[in-house]
Symmetry: C2
Subunit: 197 residues, 2 copies
């Protein structure tokens, strides 16, 4: 723990500071998921974290600063798998769909979108995080071009959006989940029917 933590924040060595930051950021995500960005208050975050609100103000200047930091702690929970490119794309989308159904990220997503709409800095953070996840899929699809699973000359960014977009749409607009069968159907639709190798 000490070794791994020192690599991330060598300056904040006082474990009390590290602990405060950790529980407050976690509480901030909880509150964000529950009441949204507009409903989030410093007092609620402090109460949820079990700290005094002076401790929150000791580390962040205010709500926007805290939320921006909290959003950055939302790491991608997508793990690489084995198999053909097609199998890995399917697994990737399955993980996205599962995360949409139940994850801190999904619960915070409406609040993040709202916050990003109101503040340019938050938008940049969100755009960067979304772009990083997207790039994982694009890289995978590029590998598919090499193996012939994806036609050469395809716009891989657009292709990635065609794969992920429907899942996002169903989560945010239609408010319905995407199950594994639908994911497979989706891959068939976008990448063409499965070959029989």
């Amino acid at each position: 723990m000490t070794d791994t933590a020192s690599s991330e924040q060598a300056l904040d060595v006082d474990p009390r500071v590290e602990r405060s930051r950790r529980v407050i950021l976690s509480a901030a995500l909880d509150v964000l998921a529950e009441v949204g960005y507009g409903g989030l208050t410093i007092e609620a975050v402090a109460a949820r974290a079990g700290v005094g609100k002076s401790t929150v103000y000791r580390h962040w200047s205010g709500k926007l600063d805290l939320v921006d930091d909290a959003i950055c702690t939302l790491k991608s929970a997508i793990f690489p798998t084995a198999g053909s490119v097609r199998e890995r794309v399917t697994a990737f989308l399955g993980q996205v769909a599962a995360a949409m159904a139940n994850s801190t990220w999904s619960r915070c997503l409406p609040a993040i979108i709202e916050a990003a709409e109101r503040d340019p800095e938050t938008m940049n953070i969100h755009r960067r995080l979304a772009g990083e996840r997207r790039q994982l899929l694009i890289d995978l699809l590029a590998e598919g071009v090499a193996t012939g699973a994806v036609p050469a000359g395809t716009d891989l960014g657009l292709l990635a959006d065609c794969l992920v977009g429907p899942i996002i749409l169903r989560r945010l607009l239609l408010h319905e989940p995407v199950d594994d069968a639908t994911v497979r159907q989706l891959v068939d639709q976008i990448l063409g029917p499965a070959s029989s190798d």
Copy 2:
């Protein structure tokens, strides 16, 4: 909650009432677009509408009631066009993309998503409105099945989501617009390359 059957109220009421409702609902959408759901206050809506806040409370029970009603006034701005099914699908998506770039609906969308996430009634309203727009495209695609432009046996709901999803994703997650060239590229990707019939 006030007048359930008043979505298209043509019945004669006091013109002062009709006028108040109209300017207040319009102001509510403006405020919603500007500060989001959490930031919307009755006082701001009243001030924007140029009415006393007692007039707002005279017609709605509170913020949630008002916002629900305001959302319902957001009608689809998609107009039917002529041409082949493929041309009409392209035109449809072009209108969706244009609306995403600049429309009251797009500006309110993050706030609506946020509100729908917090209140079941709002979610139902949003789901219904989104479903109605989606059905327009599904009907168009069904026509495409009849003419052979869309393969029989395709899940038209999923196909529609594959067409619209990328536009939504780019608006809400990547924060970048979709131009006409990309729309055409998208149609090529989903419906296959253009035939020459």
